[in-house]
Symmetry: C2
Subunit: 344 residues, 2 copies
């Protein structure tokens, strides 16, 4: 491993000149720069990461804190992580994974104090989140993926649940649907402060009401069987039901199954639109689900960019970053029958 001193000696310049040539912090004449570069390639020089961090007092790694398989790592998370890692790399940073449960906030701070990471990305943020509170108090650069209830001075990027719900309702309403139900995550997730459950509920209710439609929302466990039961419940509550928006992937499969079991056709009798959906899941249904898929990659990108700006400039008043889901047409949504025949 060649050092900077080796390069300097070979190029017949001083060590610091090599450093400046490398960082561009100070002008270096074309001639000497050339000699330096020649020496560097000849020696296969690569600047030592640890020495650089130590001297410059800054780390070149970003940490991603995520809850270890609490809610399961789905495809959306994978897209997010991959995108974040790539964007970080494009900016000269490395992304490290810190699998910490929400209760391990202290350990996160310890690692930050070690100077291990220049900043922290916190995933799966709850409405009230100890990790975020401690990071905020410690003054460490961080960015939330998601939003706590309290937002003052806290940098974040999030999925635009409100917009997504509104887009979903709009899409179905434009196709003539009037009786549009919503199948959300479980009550328990809401009780645990899982923000998406709340935001989507609100967004859906607002979207429906605004259009003079009556919201019918149910919560549901994250299993096909729970989805079956929920579908039955919805049909009983509203026989005129012609469309269901779901934000619960496993349950969605149960909904489709239950409808088909009852002899109802998807999408001819009932349309299904799966929102905040992971990549690929649509393909696994028959017919393929029409989905609005979660912007995992874009969130990863925006999250890293936001964090980098916090690292660079402290916490200026940054514009909010809300990323909506995008529609992916499948085969589970069709125009509403008009007038819709009674079911029984």
């Amino acid at each position: 491993m060649a050092t900077m001193q080796d390069v300097a000696t070979l190029a017949k310049v001083s060590l610091s000149t090599v450093s400046y040539a490398l960082s561009g912090t100070r002008p270096v004449s074309a001639a000497t720069r050339e000699r330096i570069e020649a020496a560097m390639t000849e020696l296969g020089f690569q600047p030592n990461a640890a020495a650089r961090s130590l001297a410059s007092r800054r780390s070149n790694v970003l940490a991603l804190v995520y809850p270890a398989v609490e809610r399961g790592l789905g495809g959306t998370v994978a897209e997010f992580v991959d995108s974040a890692a790539q964007v970080a790399r494009e900016h000269g940073y490395h992304l490290v994974l810190w699998p910490f449960r929400t209760s391990q906030a202290e350990e996160i701070l310890d690692l930050v104090r070690q100077g291990m990471a220049a900043g922290v990305l916190v995933m799966d943020v709850a409405l009230d989140d100890d990790r975020v509170r401690m990071l905020q108090e410690s003054g460490a650069p961080y960015t939330m993926i998601g939003r706590t209830r309290e937002l003052e001075g806290r940098p974040w990027v999030d999925i635009d649940f409100e917009r997504t719900a509104d887009d979903a309702v709009q899409y179905l309403a434009d196709l003539g649907h009037r009786h549009i139900a919503f199948l959300n995550h479980s009550e328990q997730s809401a009780a645990e402060g899982y923000a998406p459950t709340f935001r989507a509920d609100d967004g859906y209710a607002v979207a429906m009401t605004r259009r003079g439609l009556t919201p019918v929302a149910v919560h549901c466990g994250e299993t096909p069987n729970a989805g079956r039961a929920a579908a039955a419940e919805l049909l009983d509550a509203e026989p005129r039901l012609s469309a269901v928006i779901t934000m619960n992937e496993y349950a969605t499969f149960g909904v489709v199954a239950e409808l088909q079991r009852r002899g109802l056709s998807v999408p001819d009798d009932v349309s299904i639109l799966s929102i905040v959906s992971s990549p690929g899941v649509g393909e696994m249904s028959n017919p393929p689900l029409t989905t609005m898929h979660a912007p995992g990659a874009e969130l990863g990108r925006q999250g890293v960019l936001r964090l980098l700006s916090v690292i660079a400039d402290g916490t200026p008043d940054l514009p909010q970053v809300l990323v909506p889901c995008s529609l992916e047409e499948g085969g589970t949504v069709s125009r509403a029958r008009s007038p819709r025949p009674a079911l029984d």
Copy 2:
């Protein structure tokens, strides 16, 4: 950020004593150790990571090289990554993500030369893999997840495809199935040197032949439609078909759909066993797929452990680590009809 000197001053000892108390490299009296620990907690001391790496000449990070969304990050990969990150952390290491395509082998080496990572985990290894070749030549500690054709002196952990295929055939044969087909990944994946496609093909053929059964294998694109076509092809080729082993998740959904379209019941007429399957996918089918799911977490764990031993001891002759998939009963496999009625 308190430094070791701060701690030493407060504890009225010399800096090096603090270092020894921390590392245990040298005995320290109980009394002074206590004073030191008190000082450390009082100051919230955390040893600086960069300084430590620089002085000790070793990094505390492991790198995970994976092909950026080439084949898509599924649930298995997520399990793997999460598990690897956790095990690394339990051993005092951090896991960083290096999204590099196979063609960027040079950049991987550059990062290693920077001392950024103490070792590298290479995922999705192809039969002939430039990344592995270069790492091997450079002498950098690494471990493959998967196997190249050449294995001499190359540390690896992998899924036991042969055993998994054999277990799958055994399981079905025990239930009376004689005409068991295999639906593999695409021809293209094989052409690109994707090892699982080869290994599973071989394993299946051996497992069948050994039992006096005739192997019937087809390759298939990674889509439900391709799966449909493949199912049709299989049924035409072998009308007595009573079971299908699949190693192609998206295609599996097409197989189920095609069978049902033809009025065949799953599993009464045809059993389906999805091997090397991601977590959760089984749930998305109706009835839920019987699967043998890929040991993502265990691979992550073994991969990190293997890498750590390479870092510590060079490359001793390590025992091979082959991890089989484990059966998860669903509703798509049943006892074969005997004698099975003709289809037409």
